[in-house]
């Protein structure tokens, strides 16, 4: 069992928790993920690490309530326990040789982009952060990003905060103006990452994308997290849990990933509704 040391609501649907898991905290690096189960008989869900305190032995997770399991997790209080918490899984984000980096985060993906931005800042790289949300109410982690960024741009889809429009607008402006990033790292909805990749490709700037596919074990056993890369005209199957979650954006078959990501859409929607009803009754 793993204790919830702190819990904080970041916006109406996004929650931050710090979980006591000393072994995971000791090893975790930006870009890696954990798998948790809220309770016995619960489902295993992957969540990317949003931070860690090695001395305190805690790992920070930030999640959006989207389904039954995140709903259950969100009902857990500070001081309560979750059943299982395993990691750190996957490979860490590569930082070697990157002096100028652009971090492009979207929605709750910003929670994962933030520790990556912080790591580059700590390593002395020039950090540009572009983060986008649907509207003002959903904005999270603005101060944290500002603190670790040399350049910072806030975007909202409806223009209710920061600049109006999506994250590719300022990215394209910067690239057009001759900004030479060593790497663009993008974390967020698949559709956003697809378009960030297409934008970067126009200028030949390399892109790393953080994939978050369906997983069961997360240790290289089930193969559910497979995705297709196009490498030199050849289609190659990779497993996000052991080969990723970071991949070269140019190579990822996004359309396939988007389709596969919707496999259990109906099941999840129904399960979420049922869970919500349980809490309403209680």
């Amino acid at each position: 069992m793993y204790k919830i040391i702190r819990k904080k609501s970041l916006n109406p649907t996004v929650t931050q928790m710090e979980i006591e898991a000393p072994l995971v905290a000791k090893k975790a690096l930006p870009g890696q993920f954990i798998i948790l189960r809220v309770n016995e008989d619960g489902e295993r869900i992957p969540l990317t690490v949003a931070g860690y305190d090695r001395e305190e032995g805690t790992v920070k997770i930030i999640f959006q309530v989207v389904g039954a399991t995140t709903e259950l997790l969100n009902h857990k209080k500070e001081g309560e326990y979750i059943q299982d918490f395993v990691g750190p899984l996957g490979t860490a984000t590569h930082t070697d040789g990157i002096k100028k980096v652009c971090i492009v985060g979207g929605g709750v993906g910003c929670a994962i982009a933030m520790p990556v931005a912080q790591e580059f800042h700590r390593l002395g790289a020039e950090v540009t952060s572009i983060i986008g949300f649907r509207n003002k109410d959903l904005v999270i982690l603005e101060d944290e990003f500002k603190a670790c960024s040399d350049n910072f741009v806030m975007m909202t889809d409806d223009g209710s905060y920061g600049r109006h429009g999506n994250v590719t607008i300022p990215l394209k402006e910067m690239l057009s103006a001759g900004k030479d990033f060593d790497m663009i790292i993008t974390i967020g909805p698949l559709v956003m990452m697809k378009f960030v990749t297409l934008t970067a490709k126009e200028f030949g700037t390399p892109v790393t994308v953080s994939m978050n596919p369906i997983m069961v074990d997360g240790t290289g056993m089930c193969g559910g997290c497979r995705l297709t890369l196009n490498q030199d005209g050849k289609k190659v199957t990779k497993f996000a849990c052991v080969d990723g979650p970071d991949f070269n954006g140019y190579e990822v078959d996004f359309d396939e990933a988007i389709s596969r990501g919707r496999t259990y859409f109906d099941f999840e929607r129904k399960a979420h509704e049922e869970t919500c009803n349980l809490f309403k009754k209680a």
Partner: protein, 460 residues
């Protein structure tokens, strides 16, 4: 009295009934049947069956105890050599091991050794409440990576010798393939749980949610004071055919399909883990895992076809599993090899195109090689495809352990007689070494390594 030429039949659930539930298929001998079956043993002098057993259980002796009605005595004889008798009695391929050597088998059907082993283990689990003996601690710590059959056997043997043993398991439940792979109807999970509890009772510490190679490395285990490490991390990443359409929704690896059902209980109506309930399912492959996946899909209500590129004779699955599958109404499309999986406009599987095959010349394995019959195709109407083609080794330990040699295909290289790897104090066994094999071979490897680790640490 004349010897009954046939084994006493195993009482089983009716095929039509069981194809709709996940309860155990084989129900087990009663005491009366067990005694009668035990009487068929000739108690011959040279005991060939013992050599047919990878862990060399003293088979004639335990059968003699059954004849005498001393079931606990029989259990104690088995327990000397096997850590998991209730498991082995169910999933060992006895027909190609102990029973294949049985003297009675020359003229008649061999003694039902596996069925008797299962009876004895179940009898013990139900009737015995003996507190297990714990050995005097020798103060030495050994780490076991993986809680599957290899790891549990190695852990049990070392604990019985007085070692302080910790088993590290990546998943949230101990048991490895016994819990995520083999279905409930073939090996009830309560039995695995009981075996694990038995090991805990003799002092084995089981740490779930620890991925060696990620949470901790093998070198860190030594830093923590473990003096030897046994790696029984099992098989790894599932293989796919690399044909068009394998990423469509509705295509599963057998590992994923079985894990969702067995470990995550997705077959239960109130399960939190989803699974697609296909109406027409094709399972590609002919091994035991393919049979397990097919029989699970059947129990979820599907019309199931096994697609295999050779003939029934070459099916690598146990005969008994094939028969069970057939009785439950699973169809076999033999000499058929998938070419492409078709999808609908929403990315779901809508069919599979296959090549018809014929058998050609024998290949390196001695089996006749399947060759395509030009222009002969078969289109199957399916909405779910399960690939049961084996696995390739998991890279997590190999990539994080300096000095650990692996074969070109990724399996850990060991000295066969001891399980010793190229790294000092590190031993390995089971699927991580051999590639996908059987539970009992993994147990045998765990046993061999336990003996070698004991010798190594005594002389250290």
């Amino acid at each position: 009295m004349a010897i009954n030429p046939k084994k006493h039949e195993m009482p089983a659930q009716d095929p039509i009934v069981r194809a709709g539930n996940f309860k155990e298929v084989a129900l087990g001998y009663t005491a009366e049947i067990a005694i009668e079956e035990a009487k068929r043993c000739l108690n011959c002098k040279n005991k060939p069956c013992v050599n047919g057993c990878p862990v060399n259980i003293n088979i004639p002796d335990f059968i003699t105890k059954i004849k005498e009605g001393d079931f606990e005595g029989a259990y104690q004889i088995i327990a000397k050599d096997s850590s998991l008798p209730a498991v082995c009695g169910r999933v060992c391929p006895q027909e190609s091991q102990c029973e294949s050597k049985c003297t009675l088998g020359i003229k008649f059907e061999p003694v039902g050794i596996g069925r008797l082993e299962r009876f004895v283990a179940d009898w013990h689990n139900e009737n015995s409440c003996d507190v297990p003996l714990t050995a005097e601690a020798n103060g030495k710590k050994v780490a076991i990576v993986g809680s599957g059959p290899a790891g549990l056997t190695c852990a049990g043997d070392l604990a019985k010798k007085g070692y302080s043993v910790t088993v590290f398991e990546a998943l949230h439940t101990a048991g490895g393939v016994l819990v995520y792979g083999i279905p409930e109807f073939r090996l009830p999970k309560d039995i695995v749980k009981k075996e694990v509890e038995g090991l805990k009772a003799i002092g084995v510490d089981v740490q779930t949610n620890v991925v060696i190679g990620k949470t901790l490395t093998v070198d860190e285990l030594f830093d923590m004071g473990y003096e030897a490490v046994f790696i029984g991390s099992g098989a790894g990443l599932p293989k796919f055919m690399r044909i068009k359409g394998e990423s469509l929704k509705g295509v599963y690896s057998a590992n994923e399909f079985l894990t969702r059902i067995n470990l995550m209980k997705a077959y239960k109506p109130d399960a939190t883990t989803p699974i697609q309930r296909g109406k027409r399912v094709a399972v590609v492959g002919g091994g035991n895992v393919a049979m397990d996946a097919a029989r699970c899909a059947k129990r979820l209500g599907a019309d199931v076809t096994i697609v295999y590129r050779r003939t029934e004779e070459e099916l690598p699955a146990r005969r008994e599993e094939v028969e069970h599958a057939k009785e439950e109404g699973i169809k076999f499309m033999l000499l058929t090899n998938p070419l492409e999986i078709a999808g609908d406009e929403n990315g779901w599987v809508s069919g599979m195109r296959c090549q018809k095959m014929e058998l050609g010349e024998p290949d390196a394995s001695g089996r006749r090689r399947p060759v395509a019959i030009e222009g002969a195709f078969a289109d199957i109407d399916v909405d779910c495809v399960i690939m049961a083609l084996g696995t390739s080794p998991n890279p997590l330990i190999k990539d994080t352990t300096k000095g650990l040699d692996t074969a070109s295909w990724g399996g850990i290289t060991v000295e066969e007689e001891t399980g010793k790897t190229s790294k000092e104090g590190v031993y390995a066994g089971g699927d991580a070494v051999t590639g996908a094999a059987t539970v009992i071979l993994a147990m045998g490897a765990g046993k061999t390594a336990a003996k070698a680790i004991d010798e190594y640490l005594q002389n250290k």
